[in-house]
Symmetry: C2
Subunit: 228 residues, 2 copies
C-alpha cells in the first residue's frame, strides 16, 4: 500500500527545508504521494473525495509542517475539517480496525529541540504540544508514529543537512532504525538512484554506519571473552 505525505506550509516555495525534503523524495524510485495543501486550497483545486480515497488507500499518512504558534499552520486544520467529515471518519475507523494505517508527523522547528519542556524556554514538551494529533490518530484508529523533528535546519552545515535528509527518507521508508534495516535500505537506494551528489553522501553515511557496527561488535566480543 502507498504512503501519502500531506504538506501544510503557507509559504512552501520559500522554505529551504521543505524544498530540500521534496527534492529528496523525488529521488526515490517508489516515492510516496505528496499533497501540497496550501497550493490546492488557494487554486481551488482541493478535491475532498479524491483525498479521502487516497487516505483510505494508504498504509501511512504523514502530516508534514513547520511548527506555527506551537501547532500546525491553519491549512492543516482546514484540511482536517474538510476531509474528516463524520461519514468519512466512520469509514476510516472501520478500515483501520481491519488494517490499521500509521499517522506520522514531520515537524520543522525554528527553535532548538532542547528549548522545549518544563523549565526550558518553551515550557511545554513537543509531545504535549503535538498531543492534538495523537488524540486525532487514536480517535481514527491510526497507529501514531513517533514524530520526526527537524530543528533549525537553516543553521546546519550542508553535510548535516544531507544526513537529516537520509534520516528523513529512512523515517518515511519506515526503517526501524536497526543497523541491518538501515543498511539494506540505503544499499537499495544506492543501486536504484540516479548518479547525483547525494550518492556520495549516502555511501559515506553507510560506510560510517558499518564502521560503527564493527567497533560495537568488537567491544561486545571483548566483554564476552573477559567474562568467560
Amino acid at each position: 500500500m502507498k504512503k501519502t505525505i500531506i504538506i501544510s506550509h503557507p509559504k512552501l516555495a520559500e522554505s529551504t527545508v521543505q524544498s530540500f525534503l521534496l527534492e529528496g523524495l523525488s529521488q526515490l524510485t517508489t516515492g510516496p504521494e505528496v499533497i501540497k495543501v496550501d497550493q490546492l486550497l488557494s487554486a481551488g483545486e482541493f478535491d475532498i473525495k479524491a483525498t479521502q480515497k487516497n487516505i483510505l488507500d494508504s498504509s501511512e499518512i504523514v502530516f508534514q509542517f513547520p511548527l506555527y504558534w506551537y501547532s500546525a499552520p491553519s491549512s492543516l486544520a482546514l484540511f482536517q475539517e474538510q476531509v474528516f467529515t463524520d461519514k468519512f471518519v466512520h469509514t476510516l475507523q472501520e478500515k483501520n480496525k481491519v488494517e490499521p494505517a500509521k499517522l506520522s508527523l514531520v515537524v520543522s522547528l525554528a527553535d532548538k529541540q532542547s528549548d522545549f519542556g518544563a523549565g526550558a524556554k518553551i515550557g511545554r514538551t513537543l509531545s504535549e504540544l503535538l498531543s492534538p494529533f495523537q488524540a486525532f490518530a487514536e480517535k481514527l484508529g491510526f497507529e501514531y508514529k513517533k514524530p520526526f523533528i527537524i530543528d533549525q535546519f537553516n543553521y546546519q552545515t550542508p553535510k548535516k543537512q544531507q544526513l537529516i535528509l537520509v534520516d528523513y527518507l529512512l523515517y518515511i521508508a519506515g526503517s526501524d532504525g536497526s543497523f541491518v534495516d538501515r543498511s539494506s535500505w540505503l544499499l537499495e537506494q544506492l543501486k536504484t538512484m540516479e548518479q547525483t551528489q547525494n550518492i556520495a553522501v549516502l555511501a559515506d553515511y553507510l560506510e560510517r554506519q558499518i564502521e560503527e557496527y564493527k567497533v560495537l561488535n568488537a567491544t561486545l566480543m571483548e566483554i564476552k571473552n573477559d567474562r568467560e
Copy 2:
C-alpha cells in the same frame, strides 16, 4: 481597559452554545468587544491593523471556540498567523512587560470533560491539548488564565444552561470565584439589566449562593465553638 473576545467558529449561526453566550454578553452594560473571525475573513473585512490595535488596548484577550480535532478551528490559527506578525509580536511583548494582559480560553466540547485524560476515552488532558495556547501566551508575555470549559451544552437542562451562562459571564468579568466577589457582581448586574427572564434565574442563583454561604458559616462557627 477593555476586553476583547475573539470567536472562532466556522458555523457560528448554527451553534446553540455560541448564540447563547453572545446573547448573554449583549445584556451586559459594559460588555467586551467581540470579533467574529470567520465572518470577517469570509467577507474579506478582516482588518489586521485595527485588530492589532484592539489587542494592544485590551487588558484581556479571550479565544472562544469549539474544540475541533482536539484543537481550535482553522480560522483561529489563520487569525494567529495574520495578526501576530514578527513586528507586532515585538510590540506586544514590550507592552505586556509593562502592563501584562491576560489570555483566556472559552472552549466548548462535544465530549464530556471527564472523557479526557490518561486512561479515559481521549487519552490526553485538556491542559495538554490546549498547551499550544499556553506556550503562545507565555511567548507573548500574556498571563494565561485557566480555561473556561463548557461540555455537552446541548444536553443540559435550560436551568443548567442559564447557570453556565452566569459562570461564563463571571469568568469574563474576571471574578475570582469568591462568594463576595460573585455576589457583588451579580447584584450589580441585577440592578442594571433589563427586566428579562434571566433576572429571575440570576436572583435565584444569588439566593442559593447566599444560602450556601450561611450554611458554611454556621458550620465553621460550630467547629470553632467545639474547639474552644
